[in-house]
């Protein structure tokens, strides 16, 4: 891959906001580590219930100060709060809930994704280990009704993350339906990556220039709305 010029896209917070606006009221959602975690800030007060795979349904905002309780954390190991209607349960129930297709949407980060909806997130080969931290990622991919990826469009040094073929170990194959980056919103379709929206100041050509597979440009291509 050639090194690319870094385009000035959305902040991580605004990627999270764009994903938040895609989530529908009345849904159960699980947010992965990284940008997905930031989504919770944007859905407070909405009728969206967060599941945390540690064994909690209706996870509240992050806890601070005296509200911090070492027996109450989210799956990213951050102290959180409970809400009215929160429930706790054990890990087998939690992953039954996940694998059993009770979660409407899981939003995950990724290291690489291709235009078939395959993605890699659990292991960076640069670390030089065959083993790694899988955590709950593969279960969420296998079980959520919809899988969204939220990530920076390229690596810090401008390398492709949206690739033709994964060179990193796959987390799951063909499961991703939507991809949200700092530059664009894309849908994974049977024909490939369909570009629906671009970030303010970014053109479809800009997005294509940092995307290895060929994009299909929606005839309704829009600028992202916030």
């Amino acid at each position: 891959m050639a090194e690319k010029t870094k385009l000035k896209g959305l902040s991580r917070e605004l990627i999270a906001l764009r994903v938040a606006s895609e989530l529908e009221d009345g849904t159960y959602v699980n947010l992965g580590i990284g940008i997905p975690t930031l989504i919770s800030d944007w859905i407070e007060g909405r009728d969206i219930v967060l599941q945390s795979e540690i064994g909690m349904l209706k996870t509240g905002p992050l806890a601070t100060g005296d509200d911090v309780d070492q027996d109450l954390i989210n799956a990213s190991c951050q102290p959180v709060t409970a809400l009215e209607g929160t429930s706790y349960f054990d890990i087998a129930e939690s992953f039954g809930m996940i694998r059993g297709q009770h979660i409407d949407v899981a939003v995950m980060g990724a290291l690489q994704i291709n235009d078939k909806g395959d993605y890699a997130g659990w292991s960076n080969p640069a670390r030089g280990l065959f083993v790694g931290n899988i955590g709950g990622s593969m279960d969420l991919c296998a079980g959520a009704k919809k899988l969204y990826i939220a990530m920076e469009h390229t690596t810090r040094d401008g390398q492709y993350k949206v690739v033709k073929e994964l060179s990193y170990p796959a987390t799951a194959l063909g499961m991703v339906s939507m991809l949200f980056t700092d530059l664009a919103v894309m849908e994974i379709t049977p024909k490939g990556l369909l570009l629906h929206e671009v970030a303010p100041g970014i053109s479809a050509e800009d997005v294509q220039s940092v995307t290895e597979p060929k994009l299909i440009i929606s005839k309704d291509l829009q600028e992202m709305q916030f």
């Binding site: 064994g55 190991c77 890990i91 931290n133 796959a170």
Partner: protein
């Protein structure tokens, strides 16, 4: 049927070198820290610790000591390394994994949960969609190449699944918020995590509880782990955890 032991040392006295011990906890939450410290003190060697989601990252001091004292043969977990690669390079556990002196075997978290649940519930093996399309479907994911045994897959109703097996450790170390003397336990909030399934899976389950009450003090509808799964209990002070992983 009283399960209370006079001391934590007596409760773990028969754990021999080579034992396989289940360690619950989700990072720093719900980890049986007193029991881990007791097994360090006892000096038992050649241990296999079967985890679920990084309890040894939460109990980082205990992990460092276990590695330094050479007590570990193997760790099974879904998330057992520092998130940061650069911190990992300086971590004695990861160094031992890289050197192959400690085996590190990895499964998806839900598969870990289900392996304990199956072990406790008399289900020897089950099919799961989790891991299909990844190296998890191909074989056992471990740093020791010779142990990467093949896994079996099967198409059921048009979807591919991996066959995974029950896990039944010799011992489980359990941390509960409250327990009665017959072993009925309740956990606090997200500290429940792997505690219940591990209590069911092990041949001998030893529970440390922050509060010990008389039988009958827990509402029968509110018991999280029925006493039948608990063989030994001790009361311990509420542990202190830094809620962080790197």
């Amino acid at each position: 049927m009283e399960k209370v032991f006079p001391s934590i040392d007596e409760a773990i006295a028969d754990i021999k070198d080579g034992a396989m011990i289940a360690v619950p906890g989700f990072f720093a939450c719900g980890v049986p820290r007193a029991l881990l410290q007791a097994i360090i003190k006892k000096g038992t060697k050649n241990l296999t610790l079967t985890c679920g989601c990084g309890p040894l990252l939460g109990a980082a001091d205990e992990l460092r000591t276990l590695v330094q004292k050479g007590q570990l043969k193997k760790v099974i977990d879904s998330y057992g390394l520092f998130r940061s690669a650069s911190k990992g390079m300086e971590d004695p556990f990861e160094q031992a994994v890289r050197a192959g002196t400690i085996e590190f075997e990895v499964y998806p978290m839900g598969t870990m949960a289900e392996k304990y649940r199956a072990g406790g519930a008399g289900i020897p093996a089950f099919y799961t969609p989790t891991g299909v399309g990844s190296v998890v479907e191909e074989g056992v994911v471990t740093n020791i190449e010779a142990n990467r045994g093949k896994k079996e897959t099967r198409i059921i109703d048009g979807r591919k699944y991996v066959l995974e097996y029950a896990l039944e450790p010799d011992f489980a170390f359990i941390h509960a918020y409250i327990g009665d003397k017959e072993g009925n336990l309740r956990y606090a909030k997200t500290a429940r995590n792997f505690n219940h399934v591990m209590a069911t899976a092990a041949k001998v389950t030893i529970a440390e509880v922050e509060t010990l009450v008389e039988s009958g003090k827990l509402n029968a509808d509110d018991v999280h782990t029925p006493g039948i799964y608990i063989h030994r209990m001790i009361q311990v002070p509420r542990p202190k955890f830094a809620i962080t992983i790197d």
